[in-house]
Subunit: 333 residues, 4 copies
């Protein structure tokens, strides 16, 4: 069986996750090389994984003609440059989200992808969650008719360190960006206006860092539907990820994943499991599936499921939401 | 609007419940008289209820020609005699279960009902529960095809006093009798063989009283289906009353009723309400509905939903179960 | 037992509903008189109900000194006048919502209530739904900590006739007003800012009548929480009435009521019952409960659960929402 | 990282499944060789999988000293011989269920395992299902107190070919054997008596083959609990695998797995996904987990979770059930 030779740039948490999946769970790929400026920190597990080439400079991967596809899993500020270099070298690219926070740099990558004619997939892993995929398909197949109201509840179990919040780009670019992608995916429609409201209810330090920790964004879609996303940095009961699409013929909802489907009846009540703790647990299979899709797109020369433009759109919505929060006014896209 | 003049014999717990419902919840009835050998104990609420005639001797009700229907809510050992007297006097009868534990006396009542041509309904209230009614109708309408497996889980929240257990007739006649009626109602079929197993797991005193507190009965039905009923005298989480009919085209289940439909997500889990505590809470509306059905049957001269023979059959099954428990062998009916 | 003598003004749908409940389901009340300018249309059932006095002029009720409490169930434009007259005559008043759409008239009623020292309850029946009551109590008792996000989904099964829409006051005053009351009830907090978005997605005739049929309103609360209400005039699967309060210690949700709790497993899927069709079905028990609470407040001289000010506040929020929809800007209260 | 060198005997459906998992999902193993008398039929995927050695004679695996562990996945009648040979050669063995239908041969294997001091695990994969594991742990940790009633519903989506039924050993040895293992696993107790009833309700040909297609077995446990297992060869809505343990402190149930957690509300009802189709779908992860546990037991010299005696016990119960069905009497073990 033909296998795609892959180079992975970035061996931090998300890089390691993709490498593990590429090796153990993805049939059509082999990891030919990894690159990380701090590669020495990861040498032990990289060796254990049996990866033949380890570099500190990602350009070694770009220069290796035997490598067909590059995974960009480095720090956010380096995504667009590495992606651009890989694409212009004719390599297929799987790029973690966001491509960039600078619209000009994103545009440059999109241009390069079009010229090179390579596959370029953005890591919006939630699209590959079995539940959201089913909602997407139900909407697409008309099971709920024309969408009227799209709702996403998306709440993290615990806030990141304030040091991270400070450089995160704010809740809309850092956290709700996934949900902006989700409403596009679920509705099959484009957002044309946003109104954002936010509050600091969890940790005053987040407010001092210039961000909010609780946010509601109202959306208007091109075909007329209305949307609502809520975000919280702290849901004490776990990672709360639910969606709902209400339309002219019905409504479809997706519930949270749990560790198991047991119910315990006792004097204290009827208890089920909490939602899985966070994204690594919840989207474990979705991470595998998105990479499988990318590798298959390369192997069979098919379109990727989440393209470069899909990487741009949520950034535009997030920026509009941020502007709305600051001005207190709705913002058109 | 024409109203049925009703006399109620017995003003204990179940008598009071029916009187309250007849007055407040049943449109077509008026309570013309009550009788109880201990009527003085209940004088306060009987007066409050505005009931015009109160007797210690139930025969005063039988002799009152203006009374069309009699509710037999006295102690079990007096059911068949009072019912017989009322029926032979040409009155319609609503009789609490069981009609009697003596088959001869039940037969005598059934004969009298046939001769008098009156309405005679037995108080198997669970048939009027909205959930079980839906299961019954689904089975009748073929939604699950031919029944293959009928299952009833029926567990009380707490055992009765041992003094009661001693005179109760045993778990099969006292408690599971409702479930024997239920499987007939759900399946639309007759039981032809039973095998009972029991255990004393909750209170040794129940065992010393010659009874079991936990029981499983396997059933065979005339058309070939198999059935299973489990009883426990003590479910610490409340009154557990669930049924399931599995057949050639599907399966239908009925879940427990709860105080409300909220779900609380917290660090401790995802908690829903427990089942309602006991039969007064769970079957509150069913008690109203069974009496409404009886009164309407009288008013409109329609068949009653649970007739005298339906009162006999579960007693036969219970006796067979008891024999099976003692002999350790299956028993044919 | 002492009973409150009640006069009911208005014998249309909601009037009849309260009369039926007062007679059959409320212990401490008797219906002494009814008044309706079209009373002759209802003579049959009024007689059947055994109500001794029937008037065309509500003033006959006001003038009857034996009547302690008046139910105002007439057309909306007459609520405030009748309520005012009854209150100034020293009668307790149960007033259907809204008191009025004119703030001055509402203020006049509130003043009169304060001066007269009578009980005045507004008919926000949903507060008496067993599910919402539980959510309210859970929040009040701190089970979810400080509220951060309050969500209400409130969707009717079918739009009213366009002729009604034209005089309804718009979706915010006619429909979402219940939800504005609900968020106050659930959060225990006051709304300080609203942003409304709306769309015509169900029937263009609703748009031509100057209204929207789908609406989302974002709310800010005094203590910092954010809220979101969605309304649709047409949920084909029935009356969709769900709420959720998310806070620092957890989240509580309330699900829809259904005809029963069965589940049917077949080749076509696993099917449960739809939500109950509309408010008469869903809030049947809540209508009984609100009147029971009012009558008990009168009998025991206790505060009513939903006072005159509670009737004013949702009108203010609805007006702000309407202004927001027209201007496209958030509106402070 | 040290890896266990494994030889797999049998490359049919279950053999291929284990091989796939060993290669892709199990960290600590490598497949060094496979053997199958019909190996040529599987040559393509075996080559694709990169397995270095392929034999028609399993003895080649036994003779290979570099192989530490043998998976016995051949036809049932060869299990005990191959297992015996592997064990006496000092190899650890993972043996598909049942070890044998002949008690003498099972005893011989158990003896050999004890003498050789090797690991021997039986393929009761359901113990590794996340739901049943949770129920087992809850019971073990006392969350439901002393078990009183253990219930297993276990229904296949479609019957096997009648040709298979004829040689299957009957429903108790072929199908319910898994459930006999399950009740031991869930209760932590031993079965001391069984009573079986059965019926031919799905396909008369199954009856003509001397078997039943619907069965109920009542169980008594050593510590006093009662149990009930129902089996059907045909649940049209998919693979129905639910368990329940009721005890002195509560009750725990495990629901079916589904393709996703969405709910569709439409005019036709509220629809969720059906149970997953059959064991390959439902127990996919359990198959991975059982092998991971075996390999870890070998690597870390820990006890296996399902030993040789656990392979024997369900066969004894199944034989007693068969005897009970034929005689119509309860059978003690």
């Amino acid at each position: 069986m033909k296998k795609v030779r892959v180079g992975v740039v970035g061996t931090g948490r998300i890089g390691k996750l993709h490498i593990d999946n590429l090796i153990k769970r993805v049939q059509g790929a082999e990891v030919a090389a990894v690159a990380d400026i701090m590669a020495e920190n990861s040498m032990e597990w990289i060796k254990d994984a049996g990866i033949p080439n380890v570099y500190t400079d990602y350009k070694k991967i770009i220069e290796d003609d035997s490598i067909e596809a590059v995974f960009v899993c480095s720090s956010t500020d380096t995504h667009s440059q590495i992606a651009y270099d890989a694409v212009t070298a004719g390599k297929h690219v799987f790029c973690e989200k966001p491509i960039d926070y600078d619209l000009g740099r994103i545009a440059k990558v999109i241009d390069a992808v079009e010229k090179a004619g390579v596959k370029f997939q953005v890591g919006f892993n939630r699209r590959f969650d079995r539940n959201f995929k089913k909602v997407h398909e139900a909407v697409k197949n008309g099971l709920v008719g024309d969408p009227h109201i799209i709702r996403v509840a998306s709440r993290d179990p615990a806030p990141p360190p304030v040091s991270y919040v400070k450089v995160s780009g704010g809740i809309f670019l850092d956290m709700m960006i996934h949900d902006f992608d989700m409403v596009r995916y679920l509705s099959g429609d484009e957002v044309v206006e946003v109104y954002a409201s936010g509050a600091v209810l969890i940790d005053p330090a987040i407010g001092e860092a210039g961000d909010v920790d609780t946010a509601l964004v109202t959306l208007k879609f091109a075909k007329g539907a209305l949307g609502i996303i809520d975000n919280s940095r702290k849901a004490v009961y776990g990672y709360d990820q639910r969606v709902e699409v209400f339309g002219s013929k019905g409504c479809i909802t997706a519930d949270n994943e749990t560790a198991n489907l047991t119910t315990l009846y006792s004097e204290n009540g009827v208890v089920r499991e909490k939602p899985l703790y966070f994204f690594l647990e919840r989207y474990n299979e979705a991470f595998v599936e998105e990479v499988n899709c990318f590798i298959n797109a390369v192997l069979e020369d098919k379109p990727v499921p989440v393209g470069a433009v899909d990487g741009l759109k949520p950034v535009l919505i997030a920026m509009a939401a941020q502007k709305s929060l600051i001005t207190g006014m709705p913002v058109k896209l």
